[in-house]
């Protein structure tokens, strides 16, 4: 099948063109070894079907970023039948810079001149025919957004692809013309493909090329000795980049007729920008936008209508929430109007998924299969499937908002506003959004780290995202904090909850600082970034974005979530002699036995050996929390019932099945005699340890390799032990605060002096 590759600058409308050409046939994956999106799809309206490959958006074919290397290797090695170079007509100069490089490769090229409608709207004009003549390859004006000119573009690409084209360079009359010609001939002799492209890159002393053609590079070195340019000395890379831009401004400024002759004219986009990145208002506006997104996604009291008007709950109104009508109503309203995100979530989980699986669960329950088989199918496999599905609404809704921010151009401005603050931690401004999304749900937050350019920065960000306590961890916080206040009669539940959120943020900052200076060391990547003009996001593009992300999550996270849910279910419902256990017999389960065995290692955390006979309950709860953090409290309720039976624990005054779980936690306190520091350490442990399986699966999908993934699991285990141990010891003996502080300072000192030494050594090596 014929293959056409799409190449162009970021924000040139490449994705829109790709979607317009391929419709729903697009297939998304990753380029091997990196986390850059790889998309391909079919164009069917030509004489034969054509496979369209969407190359990453790039500004140049330099060897410095993975995107650029991918694009150039694809064109060089995979030899597509044609390269469609999409150009943003409103920004001709910079877009043609990439074109001059692509044209050096021996491949048929067609130019898609996009956004011509915007040029006309500004009152400017571009002479396509003159452009085509100057470039020597076909130029077709299109509007990717409106789908105009696509058929003509493909027809011309199709006919162009039939005749091979030899590379051409704009450097043929420059100072390096002789060198490039000589190197090209030297490469052509032994039959190197694309000799011109390689010759130019060798003249630039491009790392990748120098390694591939060690002999030929000597010609460049010889030439360099005799050459001196007034401005650039012997820096050929600079000389060539400059020559390209010079050629473009000399040859193509005549192609454009501008209505507004002023060089730095102000546009509508500039006016919007003035407000959104304002010196004083920029940050407050951003915080309001952020709050609005969270409110629309997660708030159970939309616009605070419930609070303001004191709206009655469904119970008060005497509506039966067990009946279908009541259930449906409860998706939208219960004492307060729910926000759109919550409504979608409720409809999906409480109605669609519940009913879709409900009949299946009933059939299985009444099928006459043995009890354990019913349990495995219903509580193991189906619960696992439901866990995967239950994450779809928050992913979709949060991503809708964040895609709007991205497409409108505001995301780039957020990075601009916050970069200064984040650089202190060794991250760029773009890392802020994924982290803050973690307060909602770690899964979409981790997927969103794709906007980060640097792989190490991404890994560090993915690791600390769970520290930003997500919505599902809140029940643990409120239940344990509530129980502390109810049982010991001290403190304030809200204050404890708030403090734990703060603890998570502080841990995240310390962990990032530590990682960026040790295992994930790397220079802060340069922040030389285009700020695209603001424009209204396109509905179709948003939907395609959402579809891609959802598909990716389901595909990658599905197996790990379902498999782990089954494993935990089996461990908690079977004894070592493989006898099936009811829920209330959990104390005999493999899970409980293992928990009893490992209980001592939790002693420094306050819920280990010091708790005696039943201390293992906290370990069991933490492990079942891996399925979903909501399970921690549910497990306490199960355990309370179990302990009441086997240990004659008196829980008659408690309502262990109450939804808030406060009484279930109180039962645990009565059974184990755990103190306040241990309980708080338990919360801290759950907050910073391995997150739920959905987040684990997402982390695995998003990290570039298995080593990094295993490192991430280890990181979560170690950090949760450290944080919880610190909380427990400081809570029990306040003076240990000084020991911990000293340990932090000592670690910082060690890291700093080690890095200093390593740097000195490197400098010496360079000099030597």
């Amino acid at each position: 099948m014929m293959r056409f590759a799409l190449a162009g600058n970021p924000n040139s409308g490449k994705t829109t063109l790709f979607n317009g050409l391929t419709g729903s046939t697009a297939h998304v994956g990753n380029w091997p070894g990196v986390t850059v999106d790889k998309r391909d799809g079919l164009y069917k309206k030509c004489a034969e079907p054509i496979s369209i490959i969407d190359l990453p958006g790039i500004y140049s074919l330099s060897p410095y970023t993975p995107e650029e290397v991918i694009a150039r290797n694809y064109i060089l090695d995979e030899k597509p039948d044609c390269v469609i170079n999409i150009i943003d007509a409103t920004n001709l100069e910079r877009n043609l810079y990439l074109t001059t490089q692509i044209m050096e490769i021996d491949v048929p090229v067609v130019i898609a001149l996009n956004m011509m409608d915007a040029v006309v709207k500004q009152g400017d004009a571009i002479d396509e025919k003159a452009l085509e003549k100057k470039l020597g390859v076909p130029v077709v004006a299109i509007s990717a957004l409106k789908g105009e000119g696509l058929a003509e573009l493909m027809e011309r690409a199709y006919s162009t692809s039939k005749t091979p084209r030899l590379g051409k360079t704009v450097l043929e009359h420059g100072a390096l013309a002789h060198l490039i010609t000589d190197v090209k001939i030297a490469l052509d002799g032994p039959g190197v493909e694309n000799p011109l492209f390689h010759a130019v890159k060798l003249a630039e002393e491009d790392e990748l090329e120098v390694n591939a053609h060690k002999d030929t590079v000597k010609m460049v070195e010889e030439f360099k000795k005799t050459f001196k340019d007034d401005t650039f000395g012997d820096d050929f890379e600079a000389l060539i980049a400059d020559a390209r831009y010079k050629y473009i401004s000399d040859n193509f400024s005549s192609v454009i007729t501008k209505k507004n002759k002023e060089k730095f004219a102000s546009t509508k986009s500039d006016k919007a920008d003035k407000v959104l990145t304002h010196k004083i208002w920029g940050i407050p506006i951003f915080l309001v936008v952020l709050f609005a997104i969270f409110h629309l996604t997660f708030s159970e009291d939309f616009l605070y209508l419930g609070k303001i008007f004191g709206l009655p709950s469904l119970d008060d109104l005497g509506i039966d929430t067990e009946a279908f009508g009541g259930q449906l109503l409860a998706c939208f309203y219960d004492g307060a109007v729910f926000s759109p995100g919550v409504i979608i979530n409720n409809l999906w989980n409480n109605i669609i998924v519940e009913y879709a699986f409900g009949w299946l669960v009933n059939i299985i329950a009444e099928s006459g299969m043995s009890v354990w088989a019913v349990g495995l199918l219903n509580d193991g496999i189906i619960e696992g499937l439901k866990a995967v599905l239950s994450f779809l609404p928050p992913i979709l809704v949060l991503f809708l908002f964040f895609s709007i921010l991205e497409d409108s151009g505001y995301m780039a401005r957020i990075a601009f506003i916050l970069d200064r603050m984040f650089r202190k931690f060794g991250l760029s401004g773009r890392a802020f959004l994924p982290m803050i999304m973690g307060f909602g749900c770690s899964v979409p937050a981790m997927i969103n780290t794709r906007t980060l350019a640097d792989d190490k920065e991404r890994a560090a960000t993915i690791r600390v995202i769970p520290f930003f306590s997500c919505g599902a961890k809140l029940p643990i916080l409120t239940a344990v904090a509530g129980a502390i206040v109810a049982f010991f009669g001290v403190g304030n539940a809200d204050l404890i909850t708030y403090g734990m959120y703060l603890l998570g943020i502080v841990s995240a900052i310390l962990a990032v600082l530590f990682m960026r200076n040790t295992s994930l060391k790397g220079e802060t990547p340069p922040f030389i970034m285009e700020l695209p003009a603001y424009h209204a996001p396109q509905f179709k593009n948003l939907m395609i974005h959402l579809w891609d992300k959802t598909k990716h999550f389901v595909k990658k996270a599905f197996t790990i979530i379902v498999a782990s849910t089954i494993v935990i279910w089996v461990l908690s419902h079977f004894s070592f002699s493989w006898g099936f256990l009811e829920d209330e017999e959990i104390n005999q389960s493999i899970l409980a036995q293992i928990s009893m065995l490992v209980q001592p290692i939790f002693t420094p955390l306050g819920f280990g050996s010091q708790l005696g006979e039943f201390g293992w309950v906290f370990v069991v709860a933490a492990i079942s929390g891996l399925i979903a953090k909501e399970n921690v409290i549910a497990t306490f309720a199960t355990l309370a019932a179990c302990l009441a039976a086997v240990a004659s624990l008196d829980i008659s005054t408690l309502d262990i099945t109450a939804e808030e779980g406060i009484d279930a936690v109180q039962a645990m306190i009565m059974a184990t005699g755990i103190g306040i520091p241990g309980l708080i350490a338990f919360i801290a442990f759950n907050m910073t340890t391995i997150p739920c399986f959905a987040a684990v699966g997402t982390a695995k999908a998003e990290l570039m390799n298995n080593k990094s993934y295993r490192g991430t699991l280890l990181f979560w285990i170690i950090s949760s032990f450290i944080v919880a141990a610190a909380v427990y010891t400081i809570g029990s003996w306040w003076w240990t605060l000084f020991i911990w502080a000293a340990a932090v300072i000592l670690t910082a000192w060690c890291v700093i002096s080690y890095n200093k030494k390593a740097k000195e050594k490197l400098d010496n090596q360079k000099l030597g």
Binding site: Y59, S60, S62, Y64, T90, N91, E93, R94, Y97, T231, E237, A238, A241, D242, Y245, K246, K263, F264, D270, D273, T277, H278, K279, I280, G282, I283, A412, F416, I417, D419, R420, M421, R423, P526, F527, I528, M529, E530, L531, P532, A533
Partner: protein
């Protein structure tokens, strides 16, 4: 008058004289169009004073001051 791009005030314009810096950063500056002869307007600074936003070759580009210090400029009156 000559000065570095990171020393520019908001609204100031100038012409690029020379670009320094190490391989990766310099190449990136060049690729984005910051080459000798290009005209630059310093459009604004981020709320915390860094990074900066410039207009070059008809589009908006942001860069940090640590990167802008490699760009030598001739200030336009």
């Amino acid at each position: 008058m000559q000065k570095k791009l990171d020393e520019f005030a908001i609204g100031e314009t100038g012409v690029v004289k020379a670009v320094g810096g190490e391989g990766k950063i310099k190449r990136r500056l060049f690729d984005m169009g910051i080459t000798p002869g290009a005209e630059i307007l310093l459009r604004k600074k981020a709320p915390l004073g860094d990074p900066i936003e410039i207009t070059i070759r008809g589009y908006e580009l942001t860069l940090r001051k640590t990167e802008a210090q490699f760009v030598n400029m001739e200030v336009k009156k």
